[in-house]
């Protein structure tokens, strides 16, 4: 069955479209809406975005692959972005990352088999003064040392999915 946007997403898209003098400028926000709607950006989702905004499919593919937050493959319900950049590294972020990998049984860049978590090694999250830092959706985990990883993962499970409603 071909993909389609829910009425709510359609309303959001129409509202977004009004914020810009041309349709192309709505490309990033509509890709976000599509990702929230479908959980990730499959080829079909990108075609739907292209159709909706009346843009060349190649353009939408080019944009979607440029930015790291657009997922071209299914991701877990919770995307864990663990910063390992300098300020966090100096305060042990690689120990935390290893601990996360161990607890989840995956390497950075992978998704757990149960589809709960995707672990991403992130660049600076602008929380350097509270390093090491991890973000899951709207929740920041600060001073995240290995001894606090279990507690953090427990809390993450109860958070809403990182990318919207996951209608799939």
């Amino acid at each position: 069955m071909p993909l389609s946007f829910s009425p709510e997403a359609q309303r959001k898209i129409a509202e977004t479209r009004r914020q810009y003098p041309n349709a192309q400028a709505a490309c990033l926000p509509v890709l976000h809406i599509a990702q929230d709607e479908f959980g990730y950006l499959s080829d079909e989702a990108l075609e739907l975005v292209a159709q909706t905004l009346n843009l060349p499919t190649a353009h939408v593919f080019g944009v979607a692959t440029f930015y790291t937050m657009y997922h071209r493959k299914p991701v877990g319900r919770h995307v864990l972005m663990m910063c390992t950049n300098v300020s966090c590294m100096l305060r042990g972020a690689y120990d935390t990352l290893r601990c996360l990998e161990e607890r989840l049984g995956i390497r950075a860049g992978q998704t757990t088999p149960d589809g709960e978590f995707t672990l991403v090694e992130e660049e600076c999250l602008a929380a350097c003064a509270d390093a090491p830092a991890m973000v899951c959706g709207q929740r920041y985990f600060l001073h995240l040392t290995p001894d606090r990883v279990d507690e953090a993962l427990q809390e993450c499970r109860s958070l809403p999915p990182t990318h919207g409603r996951r209608r799939s």
Binding site: Q24, F66, N85, L90, A126, A127, D130
Partner: protein, 467 residues
């Protein structure tokens, strides 16, 4: 006269409960300065901002009033874009500023838009900042509801109405560079544009556009309230206002602090941040985000002011090779720069080569791939630095890094190339012996805590542009 450390312009609402709600913000004076501004002529506001010596807080430190003055007279459509993409490693102020005081940003944008003749402004917020995007969206909704936005008002220069749209990025450091940001806002890949033309002449949707950092715009209301001269006098030399420093790394009290412009690095580290844990020595400090060359432990007595960090002779110039100074222009050696205010402090046990390798990996990952020196050069730097850090260095690797960096610097479309090359040269200039030791495979002798233990375990990623 020592400057008053208690003057808070943009952080005065930090820690106030519900400071992001409009009722609390209004009680604390939000939007009061909009009325003052509307009784002024737009040109008079630009003049006041010029007088204030406000310099851009996004990284380059360019005088804001002068930039505003570049908008062609009589332009029909002008855009103001707030750069809220904050992703320079070590920098964490804009996120906090937006979180604690979104209404001050909106107020600053209303006044700035009026001064510039902008009718529709955009806030480009970094995609990862989902919480701050929600806070801002709610603040915008409140501002619309109360009529500060989206409603026509009478001003000295006639009717005025402003809309502000929040635009989320999607993960790409390069989109902080203003022309890349504009392409991204237009719905394209974030590829930087050739300059000139500068955005002030031809920017968003081909129209004159002013791009300003979050902190820059949040200073505007105070300039309107208290005057440009007050703001200029608060600062030091040609830099007006206060200085926000994001203090991270090996510190007892890291944090985001609003401080006098002329405060020295030593005062910030020891008086404000409580020094280094365990009483250790400072080995290196990145003074303004990872794009800036580091200072060593003997260079802590310089003021954190824009010009001082560029010119103070107490800062050793960056070299291409021993004895050969890297010059930004004839007779103008590169020392360091104030950048984004992201200060990263490293103690005596820090593995400098590993830190440098991590920084180079960042730039290699974030290069947009448009120009060859940057795309290829940052990748080489990351690989050679990483093998040095892993103790698999080869003889000559240190000079190889320096020559690659030298080949990138000044030869690219946008300053990301310099942002990788400058710190590379800076680290080699100041810690050459450590790099040379690693060529011979000598391991880093870490202290009891392996501060910098571990290097990236993910393989080097290709640039997102893929080119």
């Amino acid at each position: 006269m020592p400057a008053d450390r208690n003057v808070k312009i943009v952080t005065r609402n930090f820690g106030i409960p519900n400071s992001n709600r409009i009722d609390v913000a209004l009680q604390r004076g939000a939007y009061a300065r909009v009325q003052t501004a509307f009784h002024m002529a737009p040109a008079a506001i630009v003049e006041e901002v010029k007088k204030s010596n406000l310099r851009g807080r996004g990284g380059a430190g360019f005088p804001t009033g002068i930039k505003w003055g570049f908008v062609p007279k009589g332009a029909q459509t002008v855009y103001l874009v707030c750069n809220a993409d904050e992703s320079e490693p070590g920098t964490c102020k804009d996120r906090e500023l937006m979180y604690w005081d979104p209404h001050l940003l909106i107020e600053g944008m209303i006044i700035s838009s009026y001064a510039l003749g902008c009718r529709h402004a955009y806030i480009y917020i970094r995609g990862e900042m989902m919480r701050e995007a929600a806070v801002l969206q709610e603040a915008l909704r409140e501002a619309y509801q109360r009529g500060y936005l989206g409603r026509e008002v009478q001003t000295l220069s006639g009717p005025f109405r402003l809309d502000i749209t929040l635009h989320r990025g999607a993960g790409a450091y390069i989109c902080g560079e203003e022309t890349s940001l504009l392409n991204s806002l237009e719905g394209k890949r974030g590829w930087p544009r050739m300059k000139p033309p500068f955005p002030a002449v031809r920017g968003l949707f081909g129209q004159p556009t002013i791009v300003n950092n979050v902190e820059t715009l949040m200073n505007i209301p105070a300039i309107i309230e208290k005057g440009g001269q007050w703001f200029a006098e608060l600062g030091m030399g040609r830099s007006g206002g206060t200085r926000i420093l994001c203090m991270s790394g090996h510190l007892v009290r890291p944090g985001v602090y609003e401080l006098p412009m002329g405060i020295t690095l030593r005062e910030v580290i020891y008086d404000v941040c409580g020094g280094v844990p365990g009483g250790k020595r400072v080995k290196a400090v990145i003074p303004g985000g990872t794009s800036m060359p580091p200072l060593d432990g003997d260079e802590l007595d310089v003021p954190m002011e824009f010009d001082a960090l560029m010119n103070d002779p107490r800062i050793k110039p960056v070299e291409v090779r021993p004895g050969e100074v890297f010059e930004l222009a004839p007779g103008k050696p590169l020392r360091t720069m104030a950048g984004s205010g992201g200060v990263v402090v490293m103690d005596e046990d820090t593995d400098i080569v590993a830190v440098c390798a991590r920084i180079m990996r960042f730039y290699a990952h974030e290069s947009c791939g448009q120009c060859t020196p940057c795309r290829e050069g940052t990748g080489w730097l990351a690989r050679v630095c990483t093998r040095l850090a892993e103790g698999k260095g080869r003889p000559g690797d240190t000079d190889l890094c320096a020559s690659i960096a030298h080949g990138i610097a000044g030869n690219t479309i946008c300053p990301l190339g310099d942002a990788a090359a400058w710190p590379m040269l800076g680290f080699i200039t100041k810690y050459r012996a450590e790099f040379l030791a690693r060529e011979r495979g000598a391991p880093h002798r870490a202290g009891p805590v392996a501060n910098t233990a571990g290097l990236p375990n993910a393989p080097l990623l290709l640039s997102p542009g893929g080119a």
